[in-house]
């Protein structure tokens, strides 16, 4: 169909609630923040060293990005383009650390590296020379557990790169090393940038890791004021401040990605030849397994060991008492993922017809808001406007939707982009109406992409912590909340580890499904 109108009634029907739920919480915070006197705010900003804190967050996000790329990009190249031993297994395992939420990674490394932890005890010292409780420590953790983002995007791009381009470069007299630096890497730039920016935004908005590792960031400051005081104005004002900077970062991201996208290379007849590593093979092998050890094997081992420290019967009884929380997590995440997918499908369908332009753009804002800020704004906003949702599990689902519709949209759009419009037109010409054609042809064809999108939102919702802490109703804790409460009340001890293990395994299971189907090409998002 042609673009006859910019907005259809259906488009508006989708856009209006979207705007309502995304802009509402921010509007609420802005309104609350207005109560904050300017002079007072400036004084507190000075006392809080706010500029230093912003610099520190930027440093943290940058270090995280560099570290995640340093882990993920060489690994992607090694598994896709070289004769690395066991590269298939590695390629399959490499994205799995995404199943471990970074705050659980922080718990694990606290158990391992914190003063009095396993490693210092093993070495017979009180503490290690480098402290985990620092910006570097937080970046270390965040990078370890976000490297799959650049890995997935870069390995996907490497698989799609047209080998003819590299052959042309060889033909032009470039050595293999120069082909890598002057052709292959520049071609990867868009995916690399996309992956790097996902990680950057993650580091920028993180709450769990920095809080556990006592790094002062805007999110932890907001959290402290939310937790410790009755004050609305200051945390609201700080939230608005944080949101504004985040949206600026997001706009920068859109700008950079928008400009870089045209270089994306798609479609190649044959896979590119693998590069023989020769003597470097085993060094590369050690590197790859080193990455996986730090990000997957070690964390699982530590959690498993912690669990084994308690008698099995005690642990069993404990896990059973936590069963309702598991169910809470499960069904809200399932509902969130399903709703997100339905809405994303609606958006994809309408946007494919030019009927609703900026709905997904709006959600992008929701996706960039740190969970702490969203939670604070959403709680107040829902209470003011939709009291029947406030303090019910629906509030959690709304939070998941606001935060994670963007990845669902990306999955749907990626799937739709692979379909030529003529497929649907063929169905139309054979007597099916628009919806019938969508159901008979488009839906079955994009199903793999939809499954991937659903799993992505499910996984992200399962592990959401910051917003859930603030909007959960009484008696309705989720697994991440329980882990948090245990970790904060008692520390990173066996029972927190047991819950963390349950969560990781629950998340890993769908991930395994996702990966075993080898559904790639969807940018997994924060």
């Amino acid at each position: 169909m042609t673009v006859r109108r910019r907005w259809s009634p259906a488009g508006l029907a989708l856009a209006a609630p979207t705007a309502f739920f995304v802009i509402g919480p921010l509007g609420f915070l802005m309104w609350m923040g207005l109560a904050q006197e300017r002079a007072d705010f400036l004084e507190r900003a000075r006392d809080l060293d706010l500029l230093m804190v912003v610099g520190q967050v930027a440093l943290l996000a940058t270090l995280t990005t560099v570290w995640a790329c340093a882990l993920g990009v060489p690994l992607a190249w090694l598994t896709v383009r070289t004769d690395l031993p066991a590269r298939r297994l590695l390629h399959w395992l490499a994205p799995l650390p995404l199943a471990i939420p970074p705050y659980i990674g922080a718990l694990v490394y606290q158990i391992l590296l914190a003063p009095g932890g396993m490693a210092p005890r093993f070495l017979g010292t009180g503490s290690l020379p480098v402290s985990l409780y620092s910006v570097a420590g937080a970046a270390w953790i965040l990078g370890l557990f976000t490297y799959p983002y650049p890995y997935l995007l870069v390995s996907g791009a490497l698989e799609r790169t047209n080998p003819a381009l590299e052959e042309a470069a060889r033909g032009a007299g470039l050595s293999p090393r120069h082909v890598l630096t002057r052709v292959t890497l520049p071609l990867l730039r868009p995916s690399l940038l996309a992956g790097a920016l996902i990680v950057f935004l993650y580091g920028w908005a993180d709450f769990g890791v920095v809080s556990l590792l006592r790094v002062r960031t805007l999110t932890t400051i907001i959290y402290e004021y939310v937790q410790g005081t009755l004050d609305w104005a200051l945390p609201a004002a700080l939230s608005v401040f944080l949101t504004v900077i985040t949206i600026l970062v997001l706009l920068l991201q859109l700008r950079v990605l928008g400009r870089a996208r045209y270089t994306q290379i798609v479609g190649s007849a044959k896979p590119a030849p693998r590069i023989a590593l020769g003597a470097w093979r085993w060094l590369a092998f050690a590197y790859a397994w080193g990455v996986l050890t730090l990000t997957l094997l070690l964390p699982l081992g530590v959690l498993g060991y912690q669990v084994s420290r308690l008698p099995a019967s005690d642990m069993g009884a404990f896990v059973l008492t936590q069963w309702p929380y598991f169910v809470n997590s499960l069904w809200t995440a399932v509902a969130g993922a399903s709703l997100a997918l339905v809405i994303a499908l609606g958006i994809g369908w309408l946007e494919g017809r030019g009927l609703s332009r900026s709905v997904s753009g709006l959600f992008q804002v929701g996706y960039a808001i740190p969970g702490t800020v969203l939670g604070l704004g959403l709680a107040g906003f829902l209470h003011a406007t939709l009291p029947w949702i406030y303090a019910t599990p629906l509030a959690l689902i709304v939070a998941y939707l606001i935060l994670y519709i963007t990845p669902a949209c990306q999955a749907v759009k990626a799937a739709l982009a692979q379909l030529h419009p003529s497929i649907e037109e063929a169905a139309r010409s054979l007597g099916r109406g628009p919806l019938a054609a969508f159901r008979a042809v488009t839906l079955p064809l994009i199903k793999p992409g939809l499954v991937a999108g659903w799993l992505l939102v499910f996984v992200l919702s399962m592990r959401e912590l910051a917003a859930t802490l603030i909007v959960r109703p009484p008696g309705f804790d989720t697994l991440p909340v329980r882990i948090w409460i245990h970790a904060m009340d008692v520390g990173p001890e066996p029972r927190a580890a047991a819950l963390a293990l349950v969560l990781v395994l629950t998340i890993a299971l769908p991930w395994l499904v996702l990966l075993s189907r080898r559904l790639r090409g969807i940018s997994p998002s924060v």
Partner: protein, 345 residues
């Protein structure tokens, strides 16, 4: 009997741009095969999409069997127009078998009525043994046939083919062209196809419409299009042509290659261009000839010579494959024009 009429149809994609289809008027008769020919961007695919109902005209009407499909205040969506379409990329449904693809448009027949009809159509295109295959298991020609069968299955009155042979190898293309024509004629289906290949248009179509910048330059039988192009654009686009300057005199049109009869009774003293096809021009080698061979293109079944005349004007002449003259040969060129076609200079 006319099946389809476009009345002054205009379509613009963006207000700032020139229209993709500009005041198009044409009529297609029942059982006719019509080719829409033109360079890329001429609006031929848009015309097809307007007929199919994938685009709505900004003004004008699309009428089929007297019923307005699209026009001021009326709109029939594509699924209710009963028009079959063969897409350039075939657009076969990859998740359905060949039989299911062909049966896709046969919902009205019900679960039991579909397979016999699908089988019948598959026999027509010679693919009855491939019924349970999936599209990706077929060759390009087979996919094309499935696409045709799928479009024909609901027995549409009109079938639209968008560059139907452009994805096929040269020899397969000729074969499929014949086959498509046979099937359309046998089923009595009216067909409109879009192409940029004049040979394809000429061999397959009863009439050819030449489009340029959204406007219909000429709509005629292939022979008329070739020999009596209505416009300079048609003359240039269809087949090779040289244009020889001439002057209208009482004795005819005087040119460097002689005098041509002025069949169109032009005003005396008017400067014109006479169209010369390469097969209109012959030459004999002659030491006193004032033409020079400057280039020879070997075309397999013929040689195409380029001859420079004293004025610097070049004309082309097609000669038998075996006649070989080196470049620089002095020749005397002659033109034997049966249909003199001139354009204002």
């Amino acid at each position: 009997m006319e099946l389809l009429t476009l009345e002054d149809v205009t379509k613009r994609y963006a207000p700032a741009q020139p229209p993709a289809v500009d005041g198009l008027t044409l009529t297609v008769a029942q059982g006719e095969i019509l080719a829409l020919l033109g360079p890329s961007g001429c609006g031929k695919t848009t015309t097809l999409r307007l007929i199919a109902g994938f685009e709505a005209p900004d003004s004008g009407r699309v009428v089929m069997r007297g019923e307005t499909m699209a026009g001021p205040g009326s709109w029939i969506p594509p699924e209710r127009r009963g028009i079959g379409i063969v897409f350039q990329d075939y657009a076969l449904f990859p998740h359905l078998t060949v039989a299911e693809n062909v049966g896709f448009g046969l919902q009205h027949l019900g679960r039991s009525g579909r397979p016999p009809r699908a089988r019948q159509i598959l026999e027509l295109v010679g693919l009855e043994t491939f019924a349970s295959r999936y599209p990706h298991e077929l060759s390009g020609g087979q996919q094309q046939r499935v696409a045709l069968a799928r479009a024909l299955a609901p027995a549409p009155a009109l079938i639209l083919l968008d560059e139907p042979f452009s994805n096929l190898d040269a020899d397969l293309r000729a074969q499929m062209r014949e086959e498509v024509e046979r099937i359309l004629r046998n089923t009595g289906t009216t067909g409109i196809f879009v192409t940029h290949d004049q040979e394809e248009a000429f061999t397959l179509a009863d009439r050819v419409g030449v489009l340029n910048e959204g406007r219909l330059e000429q709509l005629d039988a292939p022979e008329t299009i070739y020999h009596h192009p209505a416009t300079l654009f048609v003359a240039e686009f269809v087949g090779a042509a040289d244009f020889l300057p001439g002057l209208v005199t009482p004795y005819g049109i005087v040119t460097e290659l002689g005098v041509f009869a002025d069949t169109e009774a032009r005003r005396l003293g008017k400067k014109v261009k006479v169209m010369l096809r390469p097969d209109d021009v012959t030459f004999v080698p002659s030491s006193v000839g004032d033409g020079t061979i400057v280039r020879r293109d070997f075309r397999g079944s013929e040689n195409l010579y380029c001859i420079r005349l004293p004025s610097g004007q070049r004309v082309h002449s097609s000669q038998a494959s075996a006649t070989l003259y080196p470049n620089g040969t002095r020749v005397r060129a002659e033109a034997h024009v049966i249909h003199v076609v001139t354009f204002p200079a």
